[in-house]
Symmetry: C2
Subunit: 357 residues, 2 copies
Amino acid sequence: TGRQRIAVIAGDGIGTEVMPEGVRVLRAAADVFGLSLEFTEFDFASAEYYERHGDMLPEDWFETLSAFDAIYFGAVGWPDRVPDHISLWGSLLKFRRGFDQYVNLRPCRLMPGIPSPLAGREPGDIDFYVVRENTEGEYSSVGGIMFEGTDREVVLQETVMSRTGVDRILDFAFELADRRPARHLTSATKSNGISITMPWWDSRVREAGRRFPEVRLDQYHIDILTANFVLHPDRFDVVVASNLFGDILSDLGPACTGTIGVAPSANINPSREFPSLFEPVHGSAPDIAGRGIANPIGQIWSGAMMLEHLGHEDAAAAVVSAIEAVLAKGARRSPLTPDIGGTGTTAELGAAIAEEL
Amino acid sequence: TGRQRIAVIAGDGIGTEVMPEGVRVLRAAADVFGLSLEFTEFDFASAEYYERHGDMLPEDWFETLSAFDAIYFGAVGWPDRVPDHISLWGSLLKFRRGFDQYVNLRPCRLMPGIPSPLAGREPGDIDFYVVRENTEGEYSSVGGIMFEGTDREVVLQETVMSRTGVDRILDFAFELADRRPARHLTSATKSNGISITMPWWDSRVREAGRRFPEVRLDQYHIDILTANFVLHPDRFDVVVASNLFGDILSDLGPACTGTIGVAPSANINPSREFPSLFEPVHGSAPDIAGRGIANPIGQIWSGAMMLEHLGHEDAAAAVVSAIEAVLAKGARRSPLTPDIGGTGTTAELGAAIAEEL
Ligand SMILES: CC(C)[C@H](C(=O)O)[C@@H](O)C(=O)O
Ligand SMILES: CC(C)[C@H](C(=O)O)[C@@H](O)C(=O)O
């Protein structure tokens, strides 16, 4: 295979600490599997860049990043320095939209060696994907404030769903479900309360379902769906959701498996017209930044998802196996970070996974 | 105290099965504490009423119900007979808005005898309130469809927040927190993604916080907040949230305590200009309706919240104690329903709680 170019954006906080470990493991995988990966680092999409330039990104970010095969992303956000809605809408959300990464894909899986906060669940019991719409819906830029500063003050924000946008995420989710043994898709709705967009979402789900007769389809309102993530996580195989509902479910799912610090995510443009972006689920965690104890597994596992997207399925599987092997050894034989019960550092855990490869 | 009039609306499905038990326990409490409660039953707000009348409510519902001191509600919804957005918007949501019941209050508490799905948590560990805005926000009736049936189809729904609406729910939540020993209020936000309404929500929270300097205030984005309900439920005391976020949190909270089938809720108009409404968190559950095995505790506990609202705090506390006593005896000595590990019927469990009183 030819050379593949990867844009590396570490971002803020622990993003800058876990990223080197992600790159380390990817380099190791490239060695073992004879891949030609080229990494180029960028310092934008960070509070530091914002403080220097008054903007989260350079003007030519779109052209610059378009030249890459994928974007490997750490974490962005440092509320004490830049308000979140500026740092996020000025970087990550621009990438997702500018590159039309309309799928946000997040595995929720019980991993060996990581205790679940749920009683009596074992690895194997929980293994599903959240497929989140990633470009429209509740995350809109339409709205505003009227009668500002008075008692009549009213604030509006429009949820915007398009047939194009909803149908393509449903297609992705149905296709994913169709390839999995359980062939089961769950739709997150709230058509009993959100009375315009969500009944329409349900009707698009039903229509898409006709194109995938082999997939068992069900739906839950988001309130009781979150309850079922806790009570019956074994019921799920692929869960498809709007932007906001998907955001919630893809934090809650990893929380139920105890893996929120290690869960990966992919922001995918399936057309491959523009680069896709791979990032851990966890944020920049300014509170623990600078101490070298952040868990790098989310970053490394995201790297595996990137390898898969770039066509290197063997290498991707090997990275996931290396993560599992290191976790399975437990804190006595692996340098696990404090969040998962060890005393290892970010770099030690990254090195252990690279060696295992 | 004078006579107090209670409108009884059982609704659909198991609502009609648990309501008689709720009334039975309230009558018992009235006997013991010498209260004069008068119950009047209504058959509207049900699929059956809709099928007969083409509407969920009679035209004069507002005048009729305004004459009561409180509304005791079962559950509404039967999707096979009436689409949810019609049955709910045509009844429950009309009550909440028409009577300006702007507070939805839901306790989340580990109860004796009810196993938590979370590992290693004991009664006492989890005990907090979700305070949900109940009349505006994401549950709006503004929006519509454009280019219907074409590829350009786009669907809009406006979130509407008002200063009046948000400030009054924040005041309620701060006042509640201020009365509790922990004096801790958590605000549910998503200002990093929902970039217009939620940053404004945050600013109203900060401003209200200045009026309650004794209350410790923090905020979490809704995605990580749901994760924390699972990972650290002991961190919460009072949680305040918008309509949609509150809806989610007030199902998830009881799920984490294992009490979703027994949790109560109050829809309160603190001005007392109009009646408040008390209902279990669970829905109408058509799948188990007609079998006499529904758990009546949510209905009964909601009755306790109603007693408290009507000024009968002793009676309310006695009902909650009776519930706890019956639960604590376990399935061998109490006729617990199947959902909490027993073989009792709805009526047997209701009777046991009434007797305990
Ligand atoms: C039935 C539905 C409209 C309702 C809501 O979302 O408000 C319910 O989930 C609740 O929480 O009372
Ligand atoms: C940081 C925030 C804007 C973002 C989101 O809500 O999309 C994050 O929570 C995520 O899930 O990637």
